[in-house]
Every structure is written in structure tokens, then in C-alpha cells.
């Protein structure tokens, strides 16, 4: 009886350990999520000043009913100067210069785009949302300490007073930051975006998938179903398993040595990145595919063979479809690892400052993890937020990829 009590107690203790471990890991995930989301959500929004602007035809040097081309060519400098002088009449020239620094330095482009989209406002006065400088953005989002002495602040007292005045006049707005999703990297946090790195990641993963998935499946089928067992297959098996454990930077060196230096493929491109990552993903998929091929019951093979199916038909009609769910699970794991990989890309020049959004896999690109790494090194306050926002996007990207593959896995899964 005491013995049984002891055993029951041990069971209880074990249960407690289990619950504690689960709780601990959930806590870590929760802390991580809380951290990233609280820091990153703000990056999806930006602060704007609602500013009344008069689009004077003469200041812009434009004719009546100008074409889009003409507006593009015209300079908005004079217009901005005139409007600022009007808006801040009571301030000195020097002060106006400082006030201008509350705004993003490229508001002329914003005004230009506004006029191109709404040409009817020529010679009219209207309210335009103008992006604030990253410092004001951070102040508005509450990442600013006003008790710091003026000399150590990026924003001086005059600028703060103007900001407060705008707040009182209800001229400050937080709006959805669409630039973040449509533009590439930039030196200015105001206009830096993830579009180039998202496209870079999409192309890289696409190439990685298109290369590794079919190659892995054909290799696994051959090894598992057709090859005669022997020393050779054992050797290949050991090598594949070892390959799965090779540190990822080695694959980057391989890409640098073979793909770039020997084959002369273009540096920093998604094509090379995808090939390198597919080296890395191949063994993972092969191992998963082979074990799921092995798990298909022999009775199914026998049934098809006994009906007069050829070996090929047995494999492609029966065995492979049944091995598909397991293979897809392996593919998810492999691709998820590849998406988050930075080290091998470092070697082939895919960690770089890329402003242009790549339109095909042969253009220079960065991946999202590399972009996150680059931003995290920037000293500007605005980039800290961008980094966390990019991490959120990367996580969402991963979740989407996972859901897609879970969907396909469920679709192919059959019960018997």
C-alpha cells in the first residue's frame, strides 16, 4: 500500500514538472510576443501634420491644366517656402528653418504626389497630411523624455512648443504608414520600408522551394523504392543525414565558392540565395520524405502490384500520395528554417542596402532577416521600431507559409 502511494506520488510529481515546463515555455513565448508587438506595432503607423497648403500656380511655374509630366518636373521649393512663411508669420526666418525640421525632409515629394493625384487643387488652399520628422513621430508615440536637458535632445524647446501648439489645434494625426509596405530600404526612417526585403524573401523562398522540393522527392523515391540496398546507398544515406546537420554558414561559403566564383552567377541576387538555401533544405526534405515513404504499408504496394501495376505506377499512384503529408511536414520545417536564415546569405552578398524593389530573382535583393539585422544596427530611434515591425511581418510571413502547408497536408491526408 505504501509502495503504491509512493508510485502515485511520483506520478503527481512528474505531472507537476510537465505542467511547469509547458507553463515556462508559454511564458517565454508570451514575453517575446509582448516585447516585439509593443515595440513594433507603432511602426505600422506614422505621425502627420495636417497642414493647410496653397498650391500657387505661379510659384510652381505651371500653366493652366498641367499634365502629370509637368507637375513631376516642377520644383516645389518656392511653394514650401511661401507656405511656411505664411503659416508661421509671427516667427523669424531662423525659427522657421527650425520649424521646417519638424517635417520630413522630403515633403516636397509628398506635395508633388498629392497634386498629381488631385490636380483640381491647383490655385486652391487645402489641408494636406505631411509626414513629420522621425523625432516628432517618436515624441508622438511616447518614446521621448522631455526632462532631458535641451542640449542633449534631438528636438529643441521651440520645436517642442510648435508641436504642442499643433496638438492643441488638433493638427497632429496618427495614420496608417503605407510607405512602410510599398518602399524599399532608406537612410531615413520616415521612408524606409520592407517591400524590397519582402520581395527578396518571396523570390528566395520560391526558388528554394522549386529547386529543393522536386529534387528531394525524386531523390527519396529513387533511394527508397528503386535503388538496390548496398554499400552505396548506405554511404549516400549517411552523407544526407550529415548534410542536414551542417552549419548554415558553410552552405553560404559553398554558394560563394561555387555559384559566384566558379559559375559566375550574379552576386546579391535571390537566385543565388534560393539555390544556397535549397542546398540547406534538401537534406531535411529528403529525410522526411524517405521516412514517410517507408511508413506506407507494404500491403498497399502489394495490392497495386497484384493488379498488374508497374513499379512506377505503384509509386506515383499509391505510395507517393500517401507519403505526401509527411513530406510536406518536412518541407515546412525546412522552408521555415530557410526563411529565417541570415548567415548563408551574408556570404553571397544578400545582406546589403537595397533601395529598389526587386522585380525578378536576378536583381539584387535582401531577405527579411537580413533587413532586420541591418536595421537593428542603425542608431536612429525610428529604426528600432522598424526592426520590431519587420520581425512581426516575418512572423506573419512564417505563419502564412505554415498555414498554407498545413492546408495542403490536411488535403492529402487520408485515413484507413
Amino acid at each position: 500500500m505504501t509502495n503504491l502511494a509512493k508510485r502515485k506520488k511520483a506520478e503527481l510529481r512528474f505531472k507537476f514538472y510537465g505542467i511547469f515546463s509547458v507553463f515556462l515555455s508559454l511564458l517565454f513565448v508570451a514575453i517575446l510576443m509582448q516585447n516585439i508587438f509593443s515595440a513594433g506595432i507603432g511602426g505600422f503607423y506614422k505621425t502627420v501634420f495636417v497642414t493647410s497648403i496653397h498650391f500657387d500656380q505661379n510659384l510652381l511655374n505651371l500653366e493652366d491644366n498641367p499634365s502629370e509630366e509637368q507637375i513631376k518636373k516642377s520644383s516645389f521649393r518656392k511653394l514650401i517656402k511661401y507656405n511656411f512663411n505664411e503659416l508661421f508669420k509671427e516667427y523669424s526666418k531662423d525659427e522657421i528653418k527650425q520649424i521646417k525640421k519638424l517635417f520630413y525632409r522630403k515633403i516636397d515629394i509628398e506635395l508633388k504626389n498629392f497634386l498629381i493625384n488631385n490636380p483640381e487643387f491647383l490655385n486652391q488652399t487645402t489641408n494636406v497630411d505631411l509626414t513629420t520628422s522621425t523625432h516628432i513621430d517618436q515624441i508622438h508615440k511616447g518614446n521621448f523624455d522631455r526632462t532631458v536637458p535641451e542640449k542633449q535632445r534631438s528636438v529643441n524647446n521651440l520645436q517642442l512648443n510648435i508641436y504642442d501648439k499643433f496638438i492643441d489645434e488638433k493638427k497632429v494625426k496618427k495614420v496608417w504608414n503605407s510607405t512602410y509596405f510599398t518602399s524599399g530600404d532608406s537612410r531615413d526612417p520616415e521612408s524606409a520600408g520592407v517591400a524590397s526585403s519582402v520581395m527578396g524573401s518571396v523570390f528566395t523562398i520560391l526558388i528554394c522551394f522549386l529547386l529543393s522540393f522536386p529534387i528531394a522527392i525524386f531523390a527519396s523515391i529513387y533511394l527508397e523504392e528503386f535503388a538496390k540496398r548496398g554499400k552505396m546507398t548506405d554511404l549516400i544515406e549517411i552523407n544526407i543525414n550529415n548534410l542536414a546537420a551542417v552549419p548554415s554558414i558553410i552552405f553560404g561559403l559553398l554558394g560563394l565558392g561555387i555559384l559566384l566564383n566558379f559559375f559566375g552567377l550574379p552576386r546579391s541576387t535571390a537566385l543565388v540565395g534560393g539555390i544556397v538555401l535549397s542546398f540547406m533544405t534538401l537534406p531535411t526534405i529528403i529525410v522526411a520524405c524517405r521516412s514517410s515513404l517507408r511508413a506506407v504499408p507494404p500491403s498497399i504496394r502489394e495490392a497495386a502490384l497484384a493488379l498488374g501495376a508497374t513499379k512506377n505506377q505503384v509509386v506515383f499512384h499509391h505510395v507517393l500520395p500517401l507519403a505526401m503529408p509527411g513530406t510536406l511536414t518536412g518541407t515546412i520545417i525546412g522552408l521555415a528554417r530557410a526563411i529565417g536564415e541570415t548567415a548563408p546569405l551574408l556570404m553571397i552578398g544578400m545582406v546589403a542596402f537595397i533601395m529598389d524593389i526587386p522585380s525578378n530573382p536576378l536583381e539584387p535583393a535582401v531577405g527579411m532577416p537580413a533587413q532586420i539585422y541591418l536595421w537593428s544596427e542603425s542608431s536612429e530611434r525610428g529604426f528600432i521600431e522598424k526592426t520590431s515591425s519587420a520581425i512581426i511581418l516575418l512572423l506573419m510571413f512564417l505563419i502564412v507559409v505554415n498555414f498554407v502547408s498545413v492546408y495542403f497536408r490536411k488535403k492529402y491526408e487520408k485515413k484507413w
Partner: protein, 252 residues
């Protein structure tokens, strides 16, 4: 009486181990022949030689001849896929494909290119299921998974699948060993029914089943053929002492 399958001096080895020892047997057309004997006596190995299912086992080696309608099935002229089209097989454990009932039956005709017209295929599926005595039970749910049926139904589905390609011979490897008595009796009735159109060779562990369904019986022991003949004779006055011991349950 026409012989469909004749084996002559058949020896089968798994590596160094001899599994079948010099067996010469003949199987009559449209009759049911039962192969009986204790476990490991080589009945299943013998059966699997007839449609060359042993080909997939690397270490298996076959000597001697097996002929189907006078043609040596191990000769170069015979493609194994064609052979299996003529000699169907039903396994010990029901093994329907994890596909719909319809696709299970239609798979054989499809790969052999018997028909590519939908209505002809429907007819083949219907007649095969009818012959296997399953049609009435599944006619409203042909799209359901074959694996969702009960064990007995699954085995009849496997029989329907085998006869859909119109074989001459059906090999059955203990087809009822995984089934309950009711399902077993349905399959046994079916076998009696099927012998009108097919030659059937059945491996069974159940003496009663052999006595009930077969016309001829062959008794195997340790890879040797001990005795063969009419079922009624084997079960009433066997020539051999070992046969007598086995059918009366004294060993095996």
C-alpha cells in the same frame, strides 16, 4: 478436365533456405483448390510464385517451371504485368486503396487501358461489385472511401477489384483469417459462386473452410507436398498418415 496452371519441380529458396521442395501440382479450370498445412509450410510462398509476387523479394530464387495455359510464366516473353492481369490475388488482410470504392474497382481496368469511357467503366465497376456481392450494400455510396467499409466488405471490395480486370485465376491467401464468422460465410458463398467463371486457388488455415469450399485439396508440410486429391477423399480417407494427423488436429 482442363489444367489451367501446372507447376513442375518447383523449388523456391530464400537465400540459402529452401522454402519449397520440388513441388509438381496441377490446377483444374473452374475448380477451387485449397492449399492446407501448418504455418511455415510454404503454402503462401507457393501461391505467390504463381503470380510472381515473389519477384519483389531480392533474395528469393525460383527454380522449376510454372505454366499458365501451357506458357511458362517465368519465360522472357511473359511480362509480369500481363501475367498479373490474368492471375488476380486477394490478400490475407483486406487492403483496399485509400481511395473511393469506385476508384478501387476502376483502378485495374484504368491502368490496363481496358476502357476510357465513363459509362463503360461504370458498367465494369457495377458488374464487378455485383459479382463480389457488394453492389447492393454500396451502390449509394460509391464515392465513400474503400477503407470506411467493414472488414468483410473490404475483403469483398478487394475481390471486386481483382475481378474487374477479368482474370482467369484468382489466388486467395487466407482471405477470411481477419474476418468474423458471418463475413467468412459470405465470402465462402462468394467463392463457390465465382468458380463458375474463374479458377480459384485458396490458402487456408481452416480445415472446415477447405472442406466446405474446395473441390481439390493439397496438403503441404515443411515445403513438401505430402498429398493432393479430391477434397472429399483427403478429408475422409487420406493416404498419408501425416495428412490424417493434420486434419484430425493432432499437429499443426
Amino acid at each position: 478436365m482442363v489444367n489451367t496452371i501446372i507447376t513442375k519441380n518447383l523449388n523456391v529458396y530464400y537465400g540459402d533456405k529452401q522454402a519449397i521442395n520440388d513441388i509438381s501440382l496441377h490446377f483444374l479450370k473452374n475448380k477451387v483448390t485449397a492449399l492446407i498445412g501448418p504455418s511455415g509450410c510454404g503454402k503462401s510462398t507457393f501461391l505467390r510464385c504463381i503470380n510472381r509476387m515473389n519477384d519483389v523479394i531480392d533474395i528469393c530464387r525460383v527454380e522449376g517451371t510454372i505454366s499458365l495455359n501451357g506458357l511458362d510464366i517465368y519465360s522472357k516473353e511473359i511480362e509480369v504485368e500481363h501475367l498479373r492481369e490474368k492471375i488476380g490475388m486477394v490478400f490475407q488482410k483486406p487492403n483496399p486503396f485509400p481511395k473511393s470504392i469506385y476508384d478501387n474497382v476502376a483502378y485495374g481496368p484504368r491502368i490496363h487501358g481496358i476502357t476510357d469511357k465513363k459509362d463503360e467503366m461504370d458498367l465494369i465497376v457495377e458488374t464487378s461489385l455485383k459479382k463480389a456481392g457488394l453492389y447492393a450494400e454500396v451502390k449509394d455510396r460509391l464515392d465513400d472511401m474503400g477503407t470506411s467499409l467493414s472488414g468483410g466488405q473490404q475483403q469483398r471490395l478487394c475481390i471486386a477489384r481483382a475481378i474487374a480486370i477479368k482474370p482467369e485465376v484468382i489466388l486467395m491467401d487466407e482471405p477470411c483469417s481477419a474476418l468474423d464468422p458471418i463475413a467468412t460465410s459470405i465470402i465462402e458463398e462468394l467463392i463457390t459462386d465465382l468458380k463458375k467463371s474463374y479458377t480459384i486457388i485458396i490458402v487456408t488455415h481452416s480445415m472446415q473452410q477447405a472442406a466446405r469450399v474446395s473441390d481439390k485439396t493439397a496438403f503441404f508440410h515443411l515445403g513438401n507436398l505430402i498429398e493432393e486429391g479430391d477434397t472429399s477423399k483427403i478429408f475422409t480417407k487420406p493416404d498419408h498418415q501425416k495428412t490424417n494427423d493434420y486434419i484430425t488436429g493432432r499437429f499443426g
